[in-house]
Symmetry: C2
Subunit: 336 residues, 2 copies
Amino acid sequence: MPDPTLASPTLDVVAIGNAIVDVIAAADDAFIAAEDLPKGSMRLIDEDAATGLYGRMGPGREVSGGSAANTVAGMATLGLAVGFIGQVADDALGQVFAHDIRAAGVRFDTTPRGEHPATARCLILVTPDAQRTMNTFLGASQYLPETALDRATIEAAAILYLEGYLWDPAEPRAAMRAAIGWARDAGRRVAFSLSDAFVIGRHRADFLSLIGDGLVDILFANEAEITSLVELENFEAAVAEVSRQVPLLVVTRGPAGAIAMRAGERFEVAAEPIDRVVDTTGAGDLFAAGFLAGQAQGRTVEASLHMGAVAAAEVISHYGARPEADLKALVAARLG
Amino acid sequence: MPDPTLASPTLDVVAIGNAIVDVIAAADDAFIAAEDLPKGSMRLIDEDAATGLYGRMGPGREVSGGSAANTVAGMATLGLAVGFIGQVADDALGQVFAHDIRAAGVRFDTTPRGEHPATARCLILVTPDAQRTMNTFLGASQYLPETALDRATIEAAAILYLEGYLWDPAEPRAAMRAAIGWARDAGRRVAFSLSDAFVIGRHRADFLSLIGDGLVDILFANEAEITSLVELENFEAAVAEVSRQVPLLVVTRGPAGAIAMRAGERFEVAAEPIDRVVDTTGAGDLFAAGFLAGQAQGRTVEASLHMGAVAAAEVISHYGARPEADLKALVAARLG
């Protein structure tokens, strides 16, 4: 039971995630094949591998990223009060990350660690089909300690949002477990993104027990992730299975739109039409941003899905995983 | 007279310029006004001013820039053999600059200086009208010494290309003067970009004497620059005056296209139509890239102007001052 002495939330959402700067470069399919990369997915690499791949890839553009960080940046643009917790190093990319997320209107107070390891970077290769293949050097990000979390901030947010990507390293995993406990004790909701099918492969039991223990109120997944989670090849069967265990399930389906399941009720939204898909990086992150913003604003599940679709459409129309256009205006034009 | 023992050029163009990483952010007119910035121009700022402005501006994207560097990157994309000389520091942004220009196919061998001052950065504010207002911290770039120039490389290039922006600091100015002498002695052509009306205000006498001494074979300017150079308000009068002093004059006119003057003959090209102008940063740099590529390929002045227009249109259709699309294919589609 929530402590009745706790005040109303002063933040809509606080997120814990990887603090990453993306390095985005165009690449052709031959390059992806030559590098033996699993196209469309995310893999973790060490600093040497990152240096090697960087040397072979094309000219880049550096844009702040990180899955949950992209989501809160999107929510801030939509007018929500949001915070982010993630570990950067005391280096140039760490300054870039901190500047960008604060400039987006997100509260960000995590103290930089030392200079080594360096701030996380994700080498993103975008193929002509707009698919992104991500190669992440976690660097400082994987050393987020529980002590970097301010319990009062977690308690102050209506929703705690966590990214599955950060479940890989032990220290932030422990920090996220603590945060879930604080949030639940304060009567807050917990939202979780499954992030990536390969991450699920490494942590399926953990994720299933979080869900089974009733610790996740809103679960975000895509088709590959939802089927991987319960190891069911059939999409509908997987959705049915998972939706029995979480109050609110949101599954994005790329060009096929998205669905939500709540208490056995199913909601659907089509993808927003756009002229040209340039780079799908951040599509899921921004869908989550729009959906959570809708929820925080007290909108219906259907309207929240529409907001997710609008935000995702914006971010895939350009390089980079954070919105460039005025999402608030786009949503107003679409939904009023 | 060229030394008859000199070999044929092995490079089409070698450029000397600022080695800069651009930090591009959207801004509204109110922000430009509040910061008291001369909209559409470039100003030099020190590190403190850069830090202050960075703290107040919006989320950025870091993309390698530098006027002449953008030009050679564009020429490399068009299939030319090009080199670049410019000074970076031994820091993260210096690595980004070096990676990006090499990955674009440009020969770049300038040894990084120490860690301080840092690699140059240009804080670029892009307003909704797609105009860019540039605030440059020159950092390491202003310490390019003559000793960083390899005389054999200068002599090996058919064209030496110089940016007026780099005329401000004394050390690279001296280096560029030396390079001009080596290029002339080797019978190479010298191309020069006037860069910016304010730069001309600071160095008008120098620029006029370079031109008057017959040291510039191809001169690039825009409307503001050509009128500033000879202090004539009337555009046609300024063009007539300057074109008497340079073998080949190219003047870009934004949406009105561009003209070239050679031996009293006038050539014109319209701007290439594009759907939406996003960010005019690099328009002049890429116009020069297309034009010089055409010249290096032995095309007519008219065809070279068309190549300039195609390259400029591509770069203003997205954020960042280096091409993202396949310029060679765009030129082939336009000119064959």
